[in-house]
């Protein structure tokens, strides 16, 4: 039963990756990049969750590890990698390739870049892990806010150093050839990251991580090696971020310091907290959602000013109503009804205000959705924190048991 569930989960995850790859091939390059980036953000969010949510070490410099991975991939690609030229291709040159060729003919040029990508991922992970080790060391002495500011400072230092190095392209960045967008590998990395975190939590090592989060002094008194746990969390988390960075670099074909600014650290942190600090499911879902919302807004070129202002008023009203409902009403059914009623009222109000405010001077014209991206992101963040500070999933996790319970309830209702 145990192994059945486990193997089933692994098979399902792999199948999911393959399906994403298959779906991605049918889409245009923009959506392919989107799929890759979504996977990258899931990895980043889950790996930060390991440091931040599970071990309780408050780190706001995750973009630095991501950056180190991406730049090491970029430098390696520029230094060593010669794209496979078809005319030079011969199966005898490369034993492994010949082997694959004999198994599945026609699968030639694809393989070499993929192998390279895997190698570069490992390299990026190693470099980032070393950096994580360096950052992990101060965490032995510092706590809470002080650790946060040190990780932020580390991130800034890495960024400034990169900006000033000629071989790293200064502020302009590096171009990386060839681009190898592999949806399958990206999501495989995400799945591996999730699996590592999940399995960690199920055995004694992971429990010591949780113990350090809950109470450092007590856990060290119980024989947990606090030093080792903290450094291990940093090394593991940053290694995954580095691998994600390598994938990012090779899928976009371009890295520049602005892609890894402090905003990115904050966004990853937001994903972790919004999902529910410590919840892997939450980190995953929040990463996908929070990655998708700004991308969706990027496409909306013109949003009427009147509608936007109306939406602001409506949002404020809804938040106030929902907050009052959450604080005031005890009865569960009434609570839900009130929440849905206020959301409905908000939507009605938005539409009404959009037409009511149309003629007002100063509110004609429209806004570029691109400018609105971070406004919406930040607003969601503040509102959710006000209404549900423990995050969407709080400490809950997705599990087969939960799915089973879902079906059981349904049958019970029908019977």
């Amino acid at each position: 039963m145990f192994w059945g569930k486990r193997l089933g989960s692994v098979a399902l995850a792999l199948l999911g990756c393959l399906i994403l790859q298959r779906v991605g091939l049918g889409l245009n390059s923009y959506f392919q990049t989107m799929l890759v980036l979504a996977g990258v953000y899931v990895t980043l969010s889950v790996s930060l969750n390991l440091i931040n949510g599970i071990t309780g070490q408050f780190s706001i410099g995750h973009a630095a590890f991501y950056m180190i991975g991406a730049y090491s991939a970029g430098v390696l690609a520029r230094a060593f990698y010669v794209p496979l030229d078809k005319s030079l291709y011969s199966p005898l040159n490369n034993g492994f390739q010949g082997l694959v060729q004999s198994i599945s003919p026609g699968f030639t040029c694809q393989l070499q870049p993929l192998m390279w990508l895997i190698g570069v991922m490992i390299a990026g992970a190693i470099f980032a892990a070393v950096a994580g080790f360096v950052v992990g060391l101060p965490s032995l002495r510092l706590k809470g806010d002080y650790l946060a500011i040190v990780t932020m400072g580390f991130g800034e230092i890495v960024s400034i150093i990169v900006r000033n190095q000629e071989p790293l392209g200064k502020s302009y960045g590096l171009e990386i050839k060839p681009t190898i967008p592999s949806i399958f590998l990206t999501w495989l990395l995400a799945v591996v990251c999730i699996a590592v975190c999940r399995n960690l939590l199920k055995n004694v090592h992971g429990l010591s991580f949780l113990a350090v989060r809950e109470d450092e002094v007590a856990s060290s008194a119980m024989g947990v090696n606090v030093t080792r746990v903290k450094v291990a969390a940093f090394v593991l988390g940053s290694a995954f971020a580095g691998a994600a960075g390598a994938i990012y670099a090779h899928s976009l074909g371009f890295v520049s310091p602005t892609n890894f600014s402090m905003d990115i650290s904050f966004i990853i942190l937001t994903m972790v907290i919004l999902g529910g600090s410590g919840s892997i499911t939450g980190a995953t879902v929040a990463a996908v959602v929070l990655f998708y919302i700004p991308e969706w807004l990027r496409d909306l070129k013109t949003i009427p000013m009147a509608g936007f202002v109306g939406a602001i008023f409506a949002t404020i009203m809804v938040v106030a109503l929902v907050k009052r409902t959450l604080d005031g009403f005890q009865e569960k059914g009434r609570k839900t009804a009130m929440i849905f009623a206020s959301i409905g009222a908000g939507i009605v109000m938005t539409i009404a205000l959009r037409f009511a405010l149309k003629g007002v001077t100063g509110l004609e014209g429209s806004i570029d959705g691109n400018k609105l991206r971070f406004v919406v992101l930040a607003a969601i963040l503040v509102i959710l924190m006000l209404l549900r500070p423990q995050g969407i999933f709080a400490h809950h996790e997705f599990s087969w048991k939960w799915v089973k319970g879902l079906f059981k309830k349904k049958t019970a209702v029908s019977a």
Partner: protein, 392 residues
């Protein structure tokens, strides 16, 4: 690599005092902003990430006041006046206070009973929200500058001579000058007498040319020698005003915190939240008061930053860099500690300009964090703070 030559060439001792003063002036602004961070942390134990954005809004407040007073970028401006500067300062402080009141009331107060991380995330969210909403609503995000040269009655520099020129060498140079002039005159006088430009090639021409060159070299060497030791500090008068106002504001703050009833209540809340409330202190009003005080300081800092530091462009991301540096300064001095914030700010400012002095302009922003990390590794509580020992 040109590393070594660069390193050696940049160390000019004569410019050191000037850079130290620049650092102090810059550090004063950091200190002013850092005070806001540290005071809020003292009472709420919350890193107010939105403080940099309050600073940014203060800068906009000063800009709009200056526009209302007629100092538009184009067109006729009224004559420079001290009154306009005072009005701008008050306007910036007022705007910051109002914004801070709303932030505290509607974002931070509901979070007070939640885990600290939740309020921290709210602060980060507010910071992002104000930055990007400002990009839409504040002049469409177009960068603006305050017309400081039209407003400020303080123009010109204050010059302080630390070490004058070597007068004996200069006098020597003066004595050598006639010889050089004479040599030049002689050379020029002989020139047209020999047609076809053959004079330059003749033996006599060669001799006179060498004589002229020698005289010139002797004169210039003496002059350079005389001036080499000159060490002076030049500070724009506006920045002197800035420093003075900063000191006054800090003095006022010290008075408020140390010698008034409100200040005592603030210190009590900072010391022990619950005990203070048991002693009959109205926690809410004290926290609001502290918050507004810190934000008003940020407003003053913003007005001075944009007016007296030339070339400052006001846009909605203005608060980002000073905010982070001031925050670093607050942590460096020991967050929650008021003298620590001032010390941290000054140390950061001076360190930055020392890096500039050493020739590494581009690493100016990195040094702040480097110092911070090193200091925290050896004194985890900051320079003046004390690290708390956790007890079971």
């Amino acid at each position: 690599m040109d590393f070594s030559t660069h390193f050696v060439a940049a160390f000019e001792l004569t410019t050191l005092p000037q850079q130290l003063i620049n650092g102090l002036l810059n550090g004063a602004i950091y200190a002013l902003i850092a005070l806001g961070y540290t005071m809020v942390y003292g009472v709420l134990k919350l890193i107010n990430f939105a403080h940099g954005e309050v600073f940014m809004l203060g800068a906009y407040g000063a800009l709009f006041v200056s526009w209302k007073l007629g100092y538009q970028p184009d067109g006729n401006a009224p004559p420079p006046s001290l009154m306009a500067l005072v009005l701008m300062l008050l306007g910036a402080m007022l705007i910051c206070t109002i914004v801070a009141f709303f932030i505290e009331r509607f974002a931070y107060r509901p979070m007070r009973n939640q885990p600290r991380i939740a309020s921290l995330i709210t602060a980060i969210g507010l910071s992002l929200l104000l930055q990007y909403a400002g990009q839409i609503f504040l002049l469409n995000g177009t960068p603006q500058t305050i017309q400081a040269e039209k407003i400020s009655p303080f123009s010109g520099n204050v010059v302080l001579n630390l070490r004058g020129a070597d007068q004996s060498r200069l006098a020597e140079a003066e004595k050598l000058k006639p010889a050089w002039d004479a040599a030049v005159a002689e050379f020029k006088a002989r020139m047209p007498l020999e047609p076809g430009g053959e004079f330059n090639l003749s033996q006599e021409g060669e001799r006179l040319h060498t004589k002229q060159g020698d005289a010139e070299r002797a004169y210039k060497a003496a002059l350079n020698d005389g001036n080499a030791g000159v060490m002076k500090i030049e500070v724009p008068k506006g920045q002197v005003v800035l420093f003075t106002i900063t000191i006054i504001l800090m003095a006022v703050l010290t008075y408020l915190v140390m010698f008034t009833k409100q200040g005592r209540a603030m210190r009590a809340v900072s010391h022990d939240f619950n005990a203070a409330s048991l002693m009959g202190i109205n926690i809410d009003s004290i926290i609001t008061f502290t918050f507004l005080l810190g934000s008003a300081l940020a407003g003053a800092g913003a007005m001075m930053y944009c007016t007296f530091i030339p070339g400052t462009k006001i846009d909605s991301f203005l608060g980002l860099a000073p905010g982070i540096k001031a925050f670093t300064a607050a942590v460096l001095g020991g967050i929650g500690n008021i003298p620590g914030a001032v010390l941290g700010g000054l140390v950061m400012g001076v360190a930055e300009y020392l890096v500039v002095w050493a020739g590494y302009d581009s690493y100016r922003d990195a040094i702040a964090f480097l110092i911070l990390i090193v200091v925290l590794l050896f004194r985890p509580g900051g320079l003046l703070g004390s690290a708390k020992v956790e007890k079971v």
